[in-house]
Symmetry: C2
Subunit: 226 residues, 2 copies
DNA sequence: GGCGTTATGTACGATTCAGTTAATAATGTG
DNA sequence: CACATTATTAACTGAATCGTACATAACGCC
């Protein structure tokens, strides 16, 4: 009764009798939910274990300890972001269109990935300690700056954009507006109402973020007549 | 030996033998440090107690439980912000100067109050749950919007600012840039270097935030000749 | 100067929770 | 098919930590 029936049943229950990689990803996905929702100290290993199709022991088997799991979740969150980012193909567009596209993409991306945003918030609460222990995260991010730099340069050469702009700073500005929109939605909408957070409000904001950035980089004399 | 000497000694040790209000404020101050540093679940009541000049019992005596203390700390954080905010006196300035002053004030204020920023971050992680339970917080914040609205109106009447601007949205933008600067300093500077976070970098950013907002609200035709 | 109320300290209980132990099943390999 | 390696479970442990019970001191009031 203990094994005889159980083994054959289990073989059917766990569809692919053994699936280490699947188990790993299952744990990671559930852990991302739990950590992004409750933070590092708020997250419960037992809760994660309960929501996986595997057991708590497996978490320790694959990830060592709670912080190890958290760190992998954080890496995973950043990894997912990088993927989409290089697909923008701004080179084909004129500078203004490229900048608008970049702004709207960033805004929408953040908006559609609250778990990522929350992980970054949490990591900032921890002063970026765990991120610093990770090799994988630092890599690809500078590409975003370089892409922006290229767009700026083209805009400047075309006489559309001002000189003396710092692509890093511009990235900071776009990130700030896009990030805050998600990170502070709870407190902001409580204090000031949720007008900005309705679908319409968000669409307006998205456009105005791009507009704001554009007005910031454009040359001053906007041809009043034209 | 138990009382005789102890009472007189204690009278000197605790300078004002009994000081309920002082004890309360002491607890609140220490708790603010602990909560803003470690979050709600990360904070340790015993740690707070240890750093107060009173005992753990007092925390429960005055604040009920951990969440009660957290909520009071949150209220306290918001209360401190309100104080300085109404002292700006933007009415005396011309619209452009007023807007610049407001931007720089917000940026600098956030920059100089990381504990407040961290409390807001933490509260957002908790979806603003505790804030919603508090009566005191919601009050004064709409004044900030009204002040901005007045500045915008004056600017529009003077023909300096565009029509159709939303003061709430503008407040959102100024907040976003100022907030993100503090909230995401750890991850951003790790990923992209700390050039923007040196004293010089911050001074530049502060100016450019104001500049960005100004360019956003100004009328298009910037009189190329003048 | 007794006495009720407010304020404070000490020590302990109870629980939650990260991490482990020990046993066992599946899998592949010579 | 023996056997080493990998994968997995259920039950347990010990520490951390929130909260409380109990004792008691100071203060205000009559």
């Amino acid at each position: 009764m203990k094994q005889g029936a159980a083994t054959t049943e289990n073989k059917q229950a766990r569809q692919a009798k053994r699936d280490p990689e699947g188990v790993r990803r299952d744990i990671l996905a559930v852990a991302m939910e739990e950590f992004s929702q409750n933070g590092l100290s708020g997250a419960r290993i037992d809760e994660i274990a309960a929501r996986t199709r595997t057991s708590k022991r497996m978490i320790y088997y694959y990830f060592g300890d709670k912080e190890g799991l958290y760190q992998r979740v954080l890496e995973e969150a950043y990894a997912k972001v990088r993927d989409g980012e290089s697909e923008l193909e701004l080179e084909g567009l004129d500078p203004v269109a490229a900048l608008v596209k970049l702004c709207r993409y960033t805004f929408d991306h953040h908006r559609c990935n609250p778990s990522f945003i929350r992980m970054v918030m949490i990591e900032n609460i921890h002063h970026g300690r765990h991120m610093q222990l990770s090799e994988n995260i630092r890599g690809l991010n500078r590409l975003a700056i370089e892409a922006l730099e290229a767009v700026l340069k083209r805009g400047q050469e075309a006489g559309l954009f001002r000189e003396g702009l710092d692509p890093l700073e511009l990235h900071w500005q776009i990130s700030a507006l896009s990030f805050f929109n998600v990170s502070n939605a709870a407190t902001f909408s409580f204090l000031f109402g949720d007008a900005l957070f309705t679908p319409d409000g968000q669409e307006t904001l998205s456009g105005h973020v791009a507009d704001m950035v554009l007005r910031y980089v454009r040359v001053e004399h906007g041809r009043p007549g034209a």
